[in-house]
């Protein structure tokens, strides 16, 4: 029963580690040995099936960081995806029940082309791009992830929002059979997130369908997730089934759960602490010492203009 959705091909590919990952791992081990303290290896013993390789990815490098990429095993083994459990390794263990195809995304609200879109119809008209971004979790850890996706702006332009659309609301799938974590009401399902229209149109904002050149593993939000690199990770809503163009600022899940701790904007900001921990620094996964957190996660040049004149301590 538990393995109903695993195909034989999944098992076969589980043995394969692509060469580039293998080399990354060697470098990673050498780097950590230099630290003299070995407490940096990645502790995961979940067997992981590799996903399908995506074809025709363009790599412009314009927005890419050249920092060391977080190993695939950590990116796909350490996740916050409460739909599959609240433990960091729960999603990797439990997300095999998610069926990322067929997948329909409902587009509604103030938009010229509403409707139920098949995921492939939504993505196919666009060229896939690789974007190597920093990802800063609100819990003060971070990764560097080579995403594959398309700029959200390109999708928005095709859908044609009307002048009434000021914000976009995203919702995750609700299906207890596919998402066993939803049988507990830790969060009010569906998980919801939102962006202001200018944020959504920013060239950094990505609709991701893959990482490390392959389709998104289920635990990372297959088949479609949002990536907003200057914001805390929880803005990056996973397994999206609804894109809604709305007039008023949507209520996002974490703000609804704890409004004093999580805001709507959730811009990475070392000067605005979470009430329970500092946001001035972070631990890059795979590193031992904490490092300073950068304003807007280091993407100020691309995004700071959107918030000029805004009190970021109030609108955190």
């Amino acid at each position: 029963m538990l393995f109903r959705f695993l195909k034989s091909s999944d098992v076969k590919s589980s043995e394969i580690t692509p060469e580039n990952i293998y080399h990354n791992r060697r470098e990673f081990i050498q780097a950590s040995a230099l630290l003299g303290i070995g407490a940096v290896a990645l502790g995961l013993n979940i067997p992981q099936a590799r996903a399908d390789v995506l074809a025709n990815i363009t790599r412009s490098g314009t927005y890419d960081t050249d920092e060391k990429q977080t190993p695939y095993r950590a990116v796909t083994g350490y996740n916050n995806f409460y739909e599959f459990g609240t433990g960091k390794d729960d999603p990797a263990r439990n997300a095999h029940t998610l069926r990322p195809r067929p997948w329909t995304v409902k587009v509604d609200g103030h938009v010229e082309n509403p409707g139920d879109y098949d995921i492939d119809d939504l993505i196919r008209p666009h060229t896939l791009q690789e974007r190597i971004y920093r990802m800063r979790c609100v819990e003060a850890w971070s990764m560097v992830i080579p995403w594959v996706g398309i700029p959200l702006a390109d999708i928005i332009n095709r859908l044609g929002p009307t002048s009434k659309a000021k914000y976009i609301l995203f919702e995750t799938l609700v299906d207890r059979k596919q998402m066993p974590g939803q049988s507990r009401r830790v969060i009010k399902w569906p998980y919801a997130e939102g962006l202001r229209m200018d944020e959504a149109m920013n060239p950094l904002t990505l609709m991701a369908v893959g990482l490390y050149g392959e389709t998104l593993p289920n635990q990372n939000g297959a088949p479609l997730r949002l990536v907003v690199p200057w914001k805390y990770g929880f803005k990056g809503i996973k397994s999206i089934v609804r894109i809604s163009f709305v007039k008023n600022r949507p209520r996002n899940s974490w703000k609804r759960l704890a409004p004093k701790e999580y805001g709507f904007f959730a811009n990475v900001n070392p000067d605005v602490d979470h009430p329970r921990w500092t946001q001035a620094n972070e631990r890059r996964i795979g590193e031992f010492r904490r490092r300073d957190t950068l304003m807007f996660n280091g993407y100020g040049e691309e995004v700071a203009h959107m918030y000029s004149g805004m009190n970021l301590k109030k609108y955190f």
Binding site: I29, G38, G43, N45, R73, R276, R290
Partner: protein, 202 residues
């Protein structure tokens, strides 16, 4: 089973979590698969914290179990359980100071003062320390009747530890809730079972 053997069994059981953690830590340093997740320091923090609370609750359970079931032998294990609670919290504190903040004292002090959760936790550790120190026979003799009064601090320590536990989790309060319910039961029993009240009832 003779008492020394029983004690050996309890020591063995109490050391199992620490042994498991050390084994996993060794696997990690040796770049082998392990259970400490991609963020081991955070994992060790939760692990040692949870085991501290479990030992505190276990220690608090001894008096009710003796009174209800008459298992008086349990008193022979109370000191070691208390000391194991202290040992696990020392690991918890070392993880915080050494691995998490790597002796960054200004930040550590700032966090202790600024974050209520850490303030509660640190207060609990500070209060637990004299209890660990005065657990020897010599101190029990020297303190006499005051010893029992001093060690009643464990009630407050238990409450502080569980509040700390609640404040540290993000959304999933299941585990601290279980800890809180058990603590409430164990402390509630003491209110209910006060000898004075018993006399009034009869």
């Amino acid at each position: 089973m003779p008492l020394p053997y029983l004690k050996a069994v309890v020591h063995f059981l109490a050391l199992l979590p620490a042994a498991w953690l050390m084994w996993q830590g060794w696997l990690l340093i040796d770049f082998q698969d392990n259970q400490l997740t991609a963020n081991p320091i955070k994992y060790i923090h939760a692990f040692t914290g949870d085991w501290t609370i479990r030992f505190i609750l276990l220690g608090l359970a001894i008096t009710p179990l003796r009174r209800i079931f008459g298992w008086n032998i349990l008193i022979k294990f109370r000191r070691m359980i208390g000391l194991y609670a202290f040992s696990y919290v020392v690991l918890h504190l070392l993880n915080f100071i050494v691995l998490d903040y790597y002796f960054d004292w200004p930040t550590i002090l700032k966090e202790i003062i600024k974050r209520p959760a850490i303030t509660f936790g640190m207060t609990a550790i500070i209060l637990l320390t004299p209890l660990a120190v005065t657990s020897t026979r010599g101190w029990i003799r020297r303190l006499g009747g005051k010893w029992g009064k001093l060690h009643k601090l464990i009630y407050l320590i238990g409450i502080l530890a569980v509040i700390h536990n609640f404040m540290m989790v993000k959304a999933d309060i299941f585990q601290p809730l279980i800890h809180g319910i058990i603590l409430a039961g164990l402390l509630g029993y003491r209110l209910y079972d006060k000898p004075v009240w018993k006399m009034r009832r009869t």
